[in-house]
């Protein structure tokens, strides 16, 4: 049937629904304005800002120690890695010599954070495509990591364990034991994840060929992390710009070339294995030494610009600091992975069904505070 133009934006058979900000699949307060023709998605317009706290403006007011805890609240699922990014920026600017012990501990906890984040993602992903049980299995395993964090860092989610110059306090005596227990436990659970969800024929049908992102588009849209790697774009910051103790470990970059939702899913499952292997390589030989180096009570970065990128659970997190030599940054910009990953949602979900959009969004693994900052 011929469609007539009613107004400039809509065709007569298209209609518009408002997905979010209180929608189960948007995981928080993301609002999507969908233009739909029947079940087919014609356009996705994200409307952001429902949880914007202007962390960048707050950073211009705070001292460098105080900035660290704000980053917990960005991507709360990889809070340790966010903390690490800010601390690395400050440490590199001050040219501090960080003890090996700190580097190793940071890396271990960072990888644990990544696993915890992926566990949660796996559970929620299953729930988004309708398998509600996965949620609890994912959370069960994540809970063990959270307990490790709570014992060592004192908090489960917003840990603030890093300070510029090292760690806030030394690891708990039980840390190594518990981490080893977790690694042994989790090695038996990932195959179970595979049997429950990955192999499932319905799941495969839902995921395969859905939301295809080509390598060129992935790069052009600035996709990073598992989203970029699923499109065959080697973008692991841990490989290309290793930080902390990541240059001492060997691991494979999880790469897939299909670029569809299933590839993004598989890349994350592979990443969990790689993270386990990184932890195993480091956990037995955490070097002795100080857990921090002394810094001035008031940290003043030398005049200049500093950029540090780290691989957060969702992709490349960048911290761009412009310092004028005072105790506050002149401008601090967080390049958050979720923001770029969200921008490609419209591109890859147009033409799919509503169910595809939900599945695609789940594999992008969006954390809204990370996007809104």
């Amino acid at each position: 049937m011929e469609t007539t133009t009613v107004n400039s934006n809509f065709k007569s058979e298209e209609y518009f629904i408002n997905m979010g900000p209180q929608h189960p699949a948007t995981h928080g307060v993301l609002r999507l304005l969908l233009t739909i023709d029947g079940e087919i998605i014609k356009k996705v317009q994200p409307d952001l800002g429902y949880i914007h706290r202007s962390i960048e403006k707050m950073c211009e007011r705070d001292s460098y120690q105080q900035i660290v805890h704000l980053t917990d609240r960005m991507d709360y699922l990889s809070s340790h890695i966010n903390n690490e990014a800010v601390c690395l920026t400050v440490e590199n600017a001050l040219e501090l010599d960080i003890p090996e012990r700190v580097k190793v501990i940071r890396t271990i906890i960072g990888e644990l954070t990544r696993i915890a984040s992926h566990c949660l993602w796996w559970g929620v992903m299953g729930m988004d495509v309708g398998a509600l049980t996965t949620y609890f299995y994912g959370f069960r395993d994540r809970e063990m990591i959270n307990d490790i964090f709570e014992e060592t860092c004192g908090a489960r989610l917003t840990m603030n364990y890093n300070i510029p110059g090292g760690l806030m306090f030394d690891i708990h005596p039980n840390f190594v034991k518990r981490t080893k227990e977790f690694v042994a436990h989790f090695k038996t659970k990932i195959p179970e994840y595979d049997r429950l969800l990955t192999g499932n024929v319905i799941f495969q049908k839902r995921m395969k060929g859905v939301g295809i992102l080509t390598k060129e588009d992935a790069i052009s849209f600035g996709a990073s992390g598992p989203v970029g790697r699923a499109s065959g774009y080697s973008c692991d910051v841990r490989k290309h710009h290793p930080y902390s103790a990541l240059d001492k470990v060997t691991f494979n970059e999880a790469l897939k070339t299909e670029g569809d939702s299933l590839a993004r899913y598989e890349v994350r499952i592979m990443e969990m294995w790689e993270s386990l292997s990184i932890i195993e390589q480091l956990i037995d030989n955490i070097p002795e030494g100080d857990y921090k180096v002394a810094t001035n009570a008031v940290i003043k970065l030398p005049k200049g610009e500093y950029y540090q990128k780290v691989e957060a659970a969702r992709g490349e997190l960048g911290v761009y600091v412009i310092s004028t030599g005072t105790k506050n940054p002149y401008r601090l910009k967080f390049r958050s992975p979720g923001f770029s990953n969200l921008s490609l949602l419209n591109h890859i979900s147009v033409g799919g069904k509503i169910g595809d959009l939900v599945a695609t969004m789940a594999t992008l693994d969006l954390v809204i505070p990370d996007i809104d900052r």
């Binding site: 805890h69 917990d72 603030n160 708990h172 429950l196 969800l197 192999g199």
Partner: protein
């Protein structure tokens, strides 16, 4: 032929998935991970480093270790600590000395970042493992950490 092998493989994967959940169903007695929270209050113990709220420990003589240096107040990113202090004359030495009147802590504004406790030179404030912080009125969240009539412990400042 692939039509039938698709059906066969599909059913096989479905049964594999069902075996996973079925295993948990059969072990549901011992496998439950539910924390029956208000019931297990007696046995629920937080880790020693758990950041519940900031407290100021007092010893049996009602003495604390806070000198009123305000380092915690400066370190706090949210302004959740306010210290009201005064200079009082020490009767023994006759010197004027800073002394806290009230160490006010706004739990409602606290983000549990631990910077104040790191900043404290005399370990006057520590984390408590209390995890039940909800109250019926926001004003209850503003707490005075030093007890009434408490004094500075001797020798802390040296």
């Amino acid at each position: 032929m692939s039509y039938f092998s698709n059906i066969y493989n599909g059913i096989k994967t479905l049964l594999t998935g069902m075996s996973v959940t079925g295993k948990y169903f059969l072990n549901s007695r011992k496998g439950a991970i539910t924390q029956e929270y208000p019931d297990n209050r007696d046995t629920l113990k937080m880790f020693e480093r758990f950041r519940g709220e900031v407290v100021m420990p007092h010893d049996e003589n009602n003495e604390h270790r806070c000198t009123g240096c305000q380092k915690c107040e400066i370190a706090c990113p949210n302004g959740s600590i306010e210290i009201i202090w005064d200079r009082k004359v020490n009767p023994e030495t006759g010197k004027k000395k800073k002394e806290i009147d009230q160490h006010i802590y706004h739990l409602g504004m606290c983000t549990m970042c631990s910077l104040c406790i790191e900043a404290c030179p005399t370990d006057a404030i520590v984390w408590a493992q209390n995890y039940e912080n909800s109250v019926y009125d926001r004003s209850y969240l503003t707490r005075v950490l030093n007890q009434p009539e408490s004094t500075l412990k001797a020798g802390v400042e040296d």
